[in-house]
């Protein structure tokens, strides 16, 4: 059982930090994947263009 006489109001800050880091990491990863896919598509498109018809 919790000790209700021991409030710790700043614990929420830890959760907020974890959540913010997780959110930013996910977005950075998603952007990186999109950029990588975009470059790959671009590269494949160029190489296809060089192929003799």
């Amino acid at each position: 059982m919790y000790d209700l006489s021991n409030p710790s109001p700043f614990v929420l800050t830890h959760f907020e930090c974890i959540a913010t880091v997780a959110g930013f990491c996910a977005v950075v990863f998603a952007v990186a994947v999109d950029v990588w896919r975009g470059r790959r598509l671009h590269h494949n498109g160029h190489s296809e263009g060089r192929q003799p018809r």
Binding site: M1, Y2, L4, N6, P7, S8, P9, V11, L12, T13, H14, F15, E16, I18, A19, T20, V21, A22, G23, F24, C25, A26, V27, A30, V31, D34
Partner: protein, 169 residues
Amino acid sequence: MRVKRAERYFFLFLQMYLGAFNFASGLNYFVRIWAQPIPIDPVGSAYMHVTLQLGLFQLAKVIELAAGLCLLADIYVPLALVVLFPITVNVLVMDTFFATLAHVRVSGARNFAFHVLLLAAYGRYYLGMLQQPSVPLSPLWRRVGTGRDGDRTESRESALPAREITRHV
């Protein structure tokens, strides 16, 4: 295209934020990395005490843990959002109306706003529930294509979930 991409990143951030917050909050209850936040207000403290005695607080932490994990892993997200919503509402009430610290008030309100935005983003999953029931009861234990007594009186469509039917329409 760019707007759609930015929208996707924005909602990804919200989903991961809410998922990580709830997962950390649920995990912290069982692992006790940090002390559990307790409302300073006597009414809020009494409410928390009662929910602890009833076991509802523990249930809420299990739901936070499971739903947070679903949001982080990007699985069953619409279901996780619905299951988690009552807890977010409780946190909103406790934090916004029974907390004295500004950052705690903001935290509850922000999580609620994020949750509502995510529910709106996944809104099409819930639209089927708002339709008038045009199909008869189709319980999971009834085989597709069989009637109440096992005869093949029902059409296959009537045994499909609402989402499938809307797709067909």
